[in-house]
């Protein structure tokens, strides 16, 4: 919290004294696992299995790590710890909330049924609803919505990292439906969780053809480069992994040298 720079290498321009945010920061510290943090801090990156899974070595042990879940937790912690101090990723073209909401409602994952009423009406409601929250979203989260109901800017959470924009429609829908807008702490928590979900790297948004492009592995635009040099680098310095990661298979020990010697 005392660092002068944020995870996105922006100068920390505001000191946050909101009890709700300070409590959420304390909760991150309380559920953190010190040994896992040490492992992440000192690991050697081995390679990507897929956009979702990667291998890392720590001391004599080899681990399989769920990059999607770890990156989601990383972005949640950045949203809470760098709260109200984000830079802005300005979209080169405004994104109409109405179109984004309609795209999301067309997706089966939205769970839309005819009983919910026409999609057009829901999309219009989402636009008006989020426009009313625009001032707070811009001030605390650098999420910019203009008066015409377009998304114009997204928070810059991590240096050199841009979220996969295919996740933007579902993010907009979930902002309106999954965030608790009534209680301050729950609002910041659920909003940060939805934003982190959007920013986490997702296998389905990495095009199939890109999986096979070995020649692009060293290019700064490839997903493999981003995973290794942006995400895992940030895991070393900015992620305090929660204890449950060692129990739910998100950080899984595959092998250790002493046992392999025996074999």
């Amino acid at each position: 919290r005392e660092d002068e720079m944020t995870a996105a290498c922006c100068p920390r321009r505001r000191v946050v004294k909101l009890t709700s945010v300070l409590t959420l920061q304390d909760e991150i510290s309380e559920r953190g696992h010190e040994a896992l943090r040490e492992m992440l801090r000192d690991h050697s990156f081995v390679g990507c299995v897929s956009p979702q899974w990667a291998l890392a070595q720590y001391q004599t042990r080899l681990y399989l790590l769920n990059t999607t879940c770890l990156s989601e937790e990383l972005f949640y912690q950045i949203l809470i710890c760098d709260f109200a101090n984000f830079g802005i990723l300005r979209l080169s073209e405004p994104a109409p909330l109405y179109d984004l909401a309609m795209l999301a409602l067309d997706h089966p994952e939205s769970g839309w049924t005819e009983e919910d009423g026409p999609k057009e009406g829901l999309a219009e409601y989402i636009v008006e609803f989020l426009k009313r929250k625009a001032e707070m979203l811009a001030d605390y989260f650098s999420l910019e919505i203009d008066e015409e109901g377009n998304v114009t800017g997204l928070p810059l959470l991590l240096d050199n990292y841009v979220p996969q924009l295919e996740g933007l429609p579902m993010f907009v829908l979930r902002l309106a439906t999954e965030v608790n807008w009534d209680e301050e702490k729950e609002c910041f928590q659920s909003l940060s969780k939805e934003c982190a979900r959007f920013y986490a790297i997702r296998k389905q948004y990495v095009a199939e053809e890109d999986h096979e492009k070995e020649e692009c592995e060293s290019s700064p635009v490839s997903w493999k480069w981003t995973v290794e040099h942006i995400l895992y680098k940030a895991f070393r310095s900015h992620l305090f992994p929660p204890t449950h990661f060692s129990e739910d298979g998100n950080i899984l020990q595959l092998a250790n040298l002493p046992d392999l010697y025996k074999v």
Binding site: A8, C9, C10, P11, R13, G87, I88, L89, R90, L91, S92, E93, A95, P96, D99, L103, D106, H107, P108, E109, S142, G153, L154, L156, V162, L165, E166, L168, P169, Q204, Y205, E208
Partner: protein, 40 residues
């Protein structure tokens, strides 16, 4: 506010719509594949 770091990122609603619909299709195929594996 003059200290805020602002970066411009390329975005096109037309491209997003195309990519999104493509992903939607592959998501459905993936789910059908999972159902088939489960059935087998």
């Amino acid at each position: 506010s003059q200290n805020i770091k602002i970066l411009q990122i390329p975005f096109s609603m037309k491209t997003l719509k195309l990519k999104y619909r493509k992903h939607m299709k592959s998501d459905l195929l993936y789910k059908e594949e999972l159902c088939l594996i489960h059935h087998l």
